[in-house]
């Protein structure tokens, strides 16, 4: 099975993954930047396909991170994934973006039976989720995703760039203190779950916040 995974919940990233490849990764790219997704994502995917010598016909499914993440960036990846899947006529799956970091935690020496994944939600808040881990299994989402203040999170080991940002109030793991969700891990998790016969999410974005718009109150009358 060959899949194209995309995640733009923080940085812009895409990866081609196949169960035939080493560590499943055929090709991948990621930017450092969290604000230029609309420019870099399409050329990045174009190059990815070209370098791998792959066309849409060869791809079995498109997977997109559905957040949570800053809205405009998040939509870039989902709009891209939806369009590619439509044009190629391939199935489209969604995965919660924080799951990407959870998989990396599970595969690291810092793995704990229960832990948090935390990313930056801007406006002094974080996106977070709680995971449980049993030896030899994929991490399982136990609670979340949520958006809130770092001070309000459960007292558990915390992984990801959001934990690094608020390391004074969280039990932030140093090795993960700048880690952002990435299409490689997201794609690896998608491959594992799909081959285990599990179903994934659809591509509905997890905004977690309403738009800031206020319904205007009635106009004050003079007098």
């Amino acid at each position: 099975m060959l899949i194209l995974a995309i995640d733009t919940s923080a940085v812009a990233s895409a990866a081609l993954l196949s169960d035939d490849a080493m560590e499943s990764v055929v090709e991948s790219f990621a930017t450092e930047d969290t604000r230029s997704h609309a420019e870099v994502l399409a050329p990045g995917i174009q190059k990815l396909l070209g370098d791998a010598g792959v066309t849409g016909a060869d791809i079995d499914a498109v997977v997109t991170g559905v957040g949570p993440g800053p809205f405009t960036g998040l939509r870039s990846g989902i709009a891209t994934a939806r369009t590619l899947a439509f044009v190629w006529g391939k199935p489209l799956h969604g995965l919660m973006s924080l799951d990407a970091i959870a998989l990396e935690v599970a595969e690291s020496t810092s793995a704990a039976p229960e832990f948090l994944v935390v990313t930056d939600a801007r406006r002094k808040e974080v996106y977070w989720a709680r995971y449980t881990l049993t030896d030899g299994q994929l991490p399982r989402l136990a609670d979340g995703p949520h958006v809130g203040f770092a001070t309000e999170l459960p007292d558990l080991p915390a992984f990801g760039a959001g934990a690094g940002l608020y390391s004074s109030v969280l039990r932030a793991d140093e090795d993960f203190s700048t880690r952002q969700p990435d299409a490689v891990s997201l794609g690896q998790l998608a491959l594992a779950r799909l081959s285990a016969g599990e179903s994934l999410l659809d591509s509905t974005p997890l905004y977690l916040r309403e738009s800031d718009a206020q319904v205007p109150g009635p106009r004050k009358r003079a007098l």
């Binding site: 230029s36 997704h37 609309a38 420019e39 870099v40 994502l41 399409a42 050329p43 995917i45 174009q46 396909l49 849409g56 809205f71 405009t72 939509r75 870039s76 989902i78 709009a79 891209t80 994934a81 939806r82 369009t83 590619l84 439509f86 044009v87 190629w88 974005p205 905004y207 738009s211 800031d212 718009a213 206020q214 319904v215 205007p216 106009r219 009358r221 003079a222 007098l223």
Partner: protein, 364 residues
Amino acid sequence: MTPVNTSQPLVLGIESSCDETGVGIVRGTTLLANTVSSSMDEHVRFGGVIPEIASRAHLDAFVPTMKQALAEAGVELDDIDAIAVTSGPGLAGALMVGVCAAKALAVATGKPLYAINHLVAHVGVGLLGQDGELQDDLGALLVSGGHTEILRIRSIVDDVELLGSTIDDAAGEAYDKTARILGLGYPGGPAIDKVAKNGNAKAIRFPRGLTQPKYMGTAEEPGPHRYDWSFSGLKTAVARCVEQFEAQGEEVPVADIAAAFQEAVADVITSKAVLACRENGIKHVLLGGGVAANSRLRELTEQRCRAAGITLEVPPLSLCTDNGAMVAALGAQLIMAGIEPSGVTFAPDSSMPVTSVSLAGSAA
């Protein structure tokens, strides 16, 4: 990449600069499909377009809108020669959705992509259904919720000049805000137009922005805003007027205020537009934007253009409001003129100037 049909190119156009998700398909100057999904209903309770709500709606509307346009046109994506997308000006987050979708479409199909100026596309729509070229001495008056501009078009593919524009609110925004003050609901344009029919426009006189001599100057020595508009003072004047009636315990004459407001808007837009045309040798004017549906604006534009010896063209309303067909129409013009595509590395530009009709491809 297969060579593009440059005589009658089949172009798919994508529009997402404000609250309409539009996908249009044209062959040369023939309109094949014009599908629009609007999030207007979701903005009603806010009394104006909320960018984040519009962006969310674009994301969900894009693929279904494109599917419907393809079905309406009876073509397959494979048949398309090129893709065109609005890259600006417009709401940044909203533009982003259309641009990302268009780029993905270009990557997935291998078709060339043109990044197109929304304002110039409003003019390009005037070419649909015509076999020839645009008139010489052409101007365009664009009035909508997002913009108020007078343009001079020497060549639609590479020579467009902004003669004047609003320096604050767009005319449509002024309608929305005034309608809210008068309790007439959203969108303000049709609401005020309807109520104004029962009012006396001469009962109250509202200010015409930027018409004092210091802004106007003379034809020889034009002032700083000779062809520009301002509507924020007008909105304030309406609010003051309503407050005065209320303070005196009188009933607010909503119909008269609506009529007087509408008269002030139509008067200042048309007088400045016609002045810009006369002083710049413009003989033909194309009216674009959703406010073209406004009965008084249309009537006064027709009347004053006629008096000045200017011919006026008003496309059907479905092509005046924001749509994908206008983007496709301009894309087809660019292809027929041999302009190079934009590639997939460009960034949307929320304040894209009209001098940039389409974005040049990067050398990479």
